[in-house]
Amino acid sequence: MATYKLTTPISEEQIRKLKVNDIVYITGTIITARDQAHKRALQYHKEGKQLPINLEGLAVFHCGPIVKKEGDEWIIVAAGPTTSTRMDIFEDEFIKNFKTRVIIGKGGMGKRTTDAMQKYGAIYGAFTGGAAVLAAKAIKKVRTVEWFDLGMPEAFWILEAEEFGPLTVAIDSHGNNLFEDVKKKTEENRKSIYEKLGIQQ
């Protein structure tokens, strides 16, 4: 288990070095995107329209932040991760098309995303669910917001971060998935728990 400090844009080579259980901190550009923003980005790609920002080598954060406006400036108040599995239906295409290297969220993602991460070179960094103030502290600036019509939580927030983390590498680019490992172990434990509680199967 090693700790890495990465700066965007992150290269595929840097990503390939990372293994599950490693800890990562990210400095540079992080974009928030939830269901609606993923959907629109893929739609744009399909129509040949350009995204507001080139996502290659950047980090995408599954997050619906609380943001307030002070004068002309947006301030991130709280920015914890949202449940990533909802984005499983978009993420493989997203990684393939936009070459995003880091996906940040909570709860892990499924096989489709894991396969895409292995194929195109990306990782999933688990950020502590709900640790919104810790996240906000590492976000130094809101560069801009796009697609605000989707609503505050669903908009495409383009953020500048400094040592954003700790992110636990939960899916690496070698096909390993920490959440799946835990699930397998939990399934094994189920039997002994039933036994202890006197539950017949």
Partner: protein, 293 residues
């Protein structure tokens, strides 16, 4: 000041306190979990949680971006006048807190799929009423996070299987929920009554402090058993593996129909937020879960 105005001000304070500072019992349970967790990934998560709640408290900002669906529990003394004004006061307080704290606008009209923008909507904030003897008004707010709400379970079990069936249902619910409800969780478990009653009791059980033992020894034993079982799953903090999947299990029940055995499990995330205050007849306000700063 009118009761309506007092209730509004107190409720704004309660919302602010609840989302920025965890009650002492939850904080201590998280600290204990951090000290005793043996999985490194789990420990990293608990450390981030503790750092986060400390920062939230210091900067008085919401500890989680999901400031929840706003639910109130009102214990009204039967002698308190103008109780009919309270729903409006709580509604106004919710709107005010949304801009003043701020809270994330979390009330969506499900027909139009449109966010109302101020955390109020049809039946929201929801108010649970209880009329008790006396002249004191006790208000509790439970800002309920969506991630943990999404894994709540309810089932009509087979009466023949009894408590064993209940235990299986609880453990299956915990395993199925996995990482989703932001563990370590607090579980509210209830059985009997009817489908709605079981879930209502389960959710209300989330309000009992972790340090307060169940007065019913049989239920206390069941809670301990369920806690140990849930913590043997290996799910761990944030589902990354470890021994702290739940911080506590609170159980309640109601008498059941001979043909039914309803059971419900309400999940609360590690950000198990709640705040309670009492308004006395002379206007004095007493905050029970937090120190008013």
């Amino acid at each position: 000041m009118s009761l309506e105005q007092t209730v509004e001000n107190v409720a704004v304070n309660l919302l602010r306190l609840a989302v920025t500072e965890l009650p002492k019992d939850v904080k201590e349970a998280l600290q204990k979990a951090y000290q005793q967790e043996t999985s490194s990934a789990g420990k990293t998560q608990l450390k981030a949680i503790l750092d986060n709640i400390e920062l939230a408290e210091k900067t008085r900002t919401p500890m989680c971006q999901d400031t929840g669906t706003i639910i109130f529990y009102v214990k009204a003394g039967a002698e308190v006048k103008n109780l009919d004004k309270i729903p409006n006061a709580l509604r106004n307080a919710t709107k005010r807190a949304t801009t003043e704290v701020p809270l994330r606008p979390n009330a969506v009209n499900p027909l139009e799929q449109k966010n109302t923008g101020d955390n109020t909507g049809r039946n929201i904030p929801f108010i649970n009423w209880e009329i008790v003897p006396g002249n004191i008004l006790e208000i509790t707010v439970l800002p309920k996070g969506g991630g943990s709400e999404n894994v709540c379970t309810m089932a009509m079990l087979s009466p023949g299987e009894g408590i064993k069936g209940l235990k299986k249902f609880v453990i299956d619910s915990v395993i199925k929920a996995g990482s989703k409800p932001c563990p370590p969780n607090i579980l509210g478990v209830a059985f009997g009554g009817g489908a709605d009653i079981a879930m209502k009791l389960a959710k209300k059980a989330l309000l009992r402090p972790l340090t307060q033992p169940n007065p019913n020894p049989e239920l206390a034993k069941l809670e301990k058993e369920l806690l140990e079982a849930a913590n043997s799953t290996g799910i761990g903090p944030m589902g990354l593996g470890g021994k702290f999947t739940v911080l506590g299990v609170n159980v309640d029940y109601a008498a059941r129909h001979p043909a039914s055995f309803p059971a419900a499990v309400a999940f609360n995330c590690w950000a198990a937020r709640r705040a309670t205050a009492r308004i006395h007849p002379d206007g004095r306000v007493e905050y029970l879960t937090h120190e008013m700063r």
